[in-house]
């Protein structure tokens, strides 16, 4: 499968063009917030069914989904089965899959994580995952096993640069020779991954850049011109859609905007409580509205 797969950046760019969308929908399922009919199921079945319905509802409007591993791991091995189901369901619906697992380790351990998420073992869901979020704290040699899998298998990485939480200031803003850590990470990753850039001008190694810090997006764009930026933090976390324009290149490419709870729990906001039968419609409508708002902001 992987030998025939074009580079992730090309596949993402093609999907953005075809769907006229720059939206990634995060799948962060919390049992207590699921529609009542699903809450009656055993946890792993509820998570799997919810994720599948979300994929159905957003497939037309989103280029990718971003299942968040933590919310599945919360239920142990049963939760992992639901994660695998979610990944396969998304791939079957033509959605790219960005596994948001923020892994990071060294040597053979990093290679084992790379196999877990970007490998080719048909007994796992890894062949259906298109990209993975990773943590840079351990250094470039620790990212190398992930990058090797990504560039040989048509997959992508998103390396955390500037995260969207307030506490990202603690270490990511720490300045050395006038440059904060998050920019140093972006620059180092850009230099290291430059040889792997494809025809679109983008390479397999992207960056995570919180939309909650819009003034920093042009700095990150400039520091890593060949990195696709994944922008979390709009909506509940306070980032504004009209703040993300600087993350895109002149052609409006090179970035995607992630939104999770504002979309997947859209039915909670329906006036007087949505009829349970229409929760999927509320999700679909929220996905379309968010996609349109992003397009309008460019």
């Amino acid at each position: 499968m992987s030998a025939l797969r074009p580079p992730f950046a090309e596949r993402l760019g093609e999907a953005m063009e075809r769907k006229r969308s720059r939206l990634v929908v995060g799948i962060d399922p919390v049992l207590e917030r699921l529609p009542a009919a699903l809450r009656a199921l055993p946890p792993e079945r509820a998570l799997a069914a919810f994720a599948e319905e979300i994929c159905d509802a957003v497939a037309e409007h989103a280029v990718a989904v971003k299942p968040q591993a933590a919310f599945f791991e919360r239920y142990g091995a049963r939760g992992w089965s639901a994660f695998e189901h979610a990944v396969r369901a998304a791939a079957q619906r033509g959605l790219l899959v960005i596994a948001d697992a923020k892994r990071g380790d060294i040597g053979s351990t990093a290679a084992a994580y790379a196999d877990a998420f970007l490998g080719d073992d048909p007994e796992t869901c890894a062949p259906f995952i298109d990209a993975l979020t990773v943590n840079p704290y351990l250094g470039l040699d620790a990212l190398e096993p992930f990058a090797e899998r990504a560039r040989t298998g048509g997959r992508g990485l998103f390396v955390l640069a500037r995260t969207s939480n307030p506490g990202s200031r603690d270490f990511q803003e720490r300045s050395s020779a006038g440059e904060p850590l998050y920019l140093a990470v972006a620059r180092a990753v850009a230099v290291w991954s430059r040889p792997w850039v494809g025809p679109s001008g983008y390479g397999p190694v992207g960056l995570v850049a919180g939309a909650t810090f819009p003034a920093e997006l042009p700095l990150l764009r400039e520091a890593a011109p060949q990195a696709i930026l994944l922008l979390p933090g709009i909506g509940a976390q306070g980032g504004r859609i009209d703040g993300v324009r600087a993350a895109f290149d002149e052609a409006g490419k090179g970035a995607v905007v992630a939104s999770s709870r504002e979309i997947i729990y859209a039915y909670e906001r329906a006036a007087g409580g949505a009829a349970e039968s229409s929760w999927q419609a509320a999700v679909r409508s929220a996905a379309r509205a968010t996609k349109d708002a992003i397009e309008a902001a460019l």
Copy 2:
């Protein structure tokens, strides 16, 4: 269960005293390296059986085991079942369990990871895990949900400060106001976790400090005097046992030394290939020898 559990630092100190050991055995199972009899089993059963036999072999000499999540995740949901088996097997044998998963995320996602590894859900193995490794890149607010679980449930955290790989230089040595990032992380974590220090003088939040950088161990010990140090990197990675002395306090406490492949694959080194029936004996003997070498170095 957790309401009755004494603080992790006290439990670890008690085990060190009772076993006269400062050894933690890492469980990093790679199928291809398992004894032949186990390699014949389906992957998840092979990993579970290997982990259980390792626990049996080292229980007398190690204070804790450190199962490495990556090597189990590699096999998806089936691998997670094996991880859960390994955790329970270790707890049943009186070993403390340090889950080496290096998790890190923000807000409710961090809370979900904390539930996954340090929670109380009896349907998962979390109640049998005593401590977890976490990544500091996202900042202190991202560590808070893990710390909350740790301090209320008698568990521990080990925050990555200085990792044992060569590439840890890339970002961890980056200096600001004369202080490298790894020391800034250690100092910030020490200040933040000071209110939770227990009767032993140590608190629930420890640090990971690679034994491959022995000259830095006294700096980390001084920067975070109430943090238990977890020291990986001896053996295969080049760290020397006689270099770790400075990580301990004057009473020889406050740190543990982790060794993985040198112990769990000790049978590979047996002259002429060990009889398969004695692989456990080779592991047991390696655990004892490593424990004794650490004690002799103090």
